[in-house]
Symmetry: C2
Subunit: 309 residues, 2 copies
């Protein structure tokens, strides 16, 4: 097997307390960087940048490393780890944040190890756009994707726009896309995103799938159908992780983001995130196997098959 392409992921590493109609988990391994890295590992070699406190369970770090994720970029500093607690509505579509304790994450200064700089792909998960920009400038021309959230759109818009001007792909959920562009219609919102810089705008619509827009194309990717959504946490990060990982695997240059490639990348994103939501926390991503991924990809293909007559 050929060595996998390197993919740097920066974002939160967290302890999640999650409650859904299917149960509750306390202080489980979570965070955008973790979900994204685990989701990408079948396609690329993930290299994680993040921060944890001294209270972070050693077994979690060991677990992450055992899956093949490089953690040289994960700093362990004095203080409490980032904690998030949330509860989901019965249909799993709405998360109510019960508690956010930033801990060491509030003073996070991402450090990009020298060995990471030449990685061909970079994903900036949802963190302060100033930090995203910092990481972006430290990399040597990687294909770059990014995500953000409502807080940064309203509080650090100028910094976010600066990041967007240099990003190749932007991932947002439908509400964030509407908020950032001021457009209600999602197609207009996606086109509005493109005018801010990226070559591709990816709008994530949860149970309704995703749409991928470039200057000259528009694609629609269904979700892989899941009847029992146990825990939606990390679905979006898993989608982006597999999406970017696929682009890494295919060694895609920023000027070669064709509609067909993006369609394939999004299909893997849909499939991988379906494993995420079927279990609590990162359980689904850990037990996911390559043959199962291919099997679900086949299902996804059949789902949108439109015969020619």
């Amino acid at each position: 097997m050929k060595p996998k392409e390197e993919m740097v992921v920066v974002g939160s590493v967290a302890l999640d307390t999650v409650e859904t109609v299917h149960g509750k988990r306390r202080e489980a391994l979570g965070g955008a960087a973790v979900y994204c890295s685990l989701a990408s590992r079948y396609f690329a070699r993930p290299m994680m940048i993040g921060v944890v406190g001294t209270d972070f369970p050693k077994r979690y770090l060991t677990l992450v490393r055992r899956t093949g994720i490089d953690t040289e970029g994960v700093q362990q500093v004095a203080g409490e780890s980032f904690r998030w607690a949330g509860k989901y509505s019965p249909d799993g579509n709405v998360a109510h944040t019960l508690e956010t304790r930033l801990g060491v994450f509030s003073e996070f200064k991402p450090r990009v190890p020298d060995s990471y700089r030449s990685a061909k792909v970079l994903f900036l998960a949802n963190i302060d756009p100033e930090l995203q920009f910092h990481v972006l400038t430290r990399m040597n021309g990687a294909l770059s994707g990014g995500d953000t959230m409502n807080f940064w759109i309203s509080q650090k818009r100028a910094h976010l726009l600066k990041v967007l001007r240099r990003l190749h792909l932007m991932f947002l959920n439908d509400q964030e896309a509407r908020m950032l562009t001021g457009e209600h219609n999602l197609i207009k919102a996606a086109r509005g995103l493109l005018r801010m810089g990226p070559r591709a705008a990816v709008v994530k619509k949860g149970e309704h799938g995703s749409m991928i827009c470039t200057d000259s194309s528009f694609r629609f990717c269904p979700p892989h159908p899941v009847q029992v959504v146990k825990d939606p946490t990390g679905a979006g990060d898993s989608y982006a992780g597999a999406f970017m990982g696929y682009l890494a695997q295919k060694k895609i240059r920023p000027d070669r983001l064709t509609p067909d490639l993006l369609a394939c990348a999004s299909a893997y994103g849909s499939v991988v995130s379906s494993f995420t939501v079927q279990s609590f926390g990162v359980g689904g991503l850990l037990s996911m196997k390559w043959p199962l991924i291919l099997q679900r990809l086949k299902t996804l293909r059949r789902l949108v098959h439109l015969p020619s007559k």
Copy 2:
């Protein structure tokens, strides 16, 4: 050209007053039976069953007949026509009903002309399920589809279930599917619908497209992308009209509702309803031309194209 198959449509014939961010229209031609019949006319020969008052503008009936719709089943009785007034949210996703004046529609007793009984396809648009059942029993074994609304689900559930046991296809929007089955998850809701009788459950999700479920299959149909939704009124009825019209055109027997056929039917539904929402009232359906339908079908196909590598 071969003569088109006959398709009976029963439902409201209305005067709609609609306001969206793009403008306002007063007492325009509307109603589920009208949208559905107009949407189906490129595929089938629509035969409409409904009721209007003596105040119903003659030019509207003339217009409907000129498009090739049979109106023998439309009664004109003393009293006021059914009027609906609504206002849409800026994104066009939510309708606020400002006024509903049932008029002659409140005493509607559908009459099925003898010439309609042998039609091969029947669509029961949203009316009282008791009336739907009456029409259903008057037909000689047509392939039958139906729709309903939240009011009947809560107020006439038993009658609705009686209809469902005899229907071949049921069309519902996502909220109605959840309400009728008590399932939050849309896949479970669709499967729940199937257990109530129909061979196919069609869940309409507005701007997110639709999903079509049978006992052994599951398909996902994207919406045809529309950047400017001028007036969403009638989108669901147009979708169902083109869907059932396509099945009529293909002379599909109830036991031959294959996943591929249903996928094609839903694709035409998406395409035709995209014309509906781009204009006020029935304007989009009236100006729609066959080559444009085929062009949009091609776009829809490309939208979900997933290359094999």
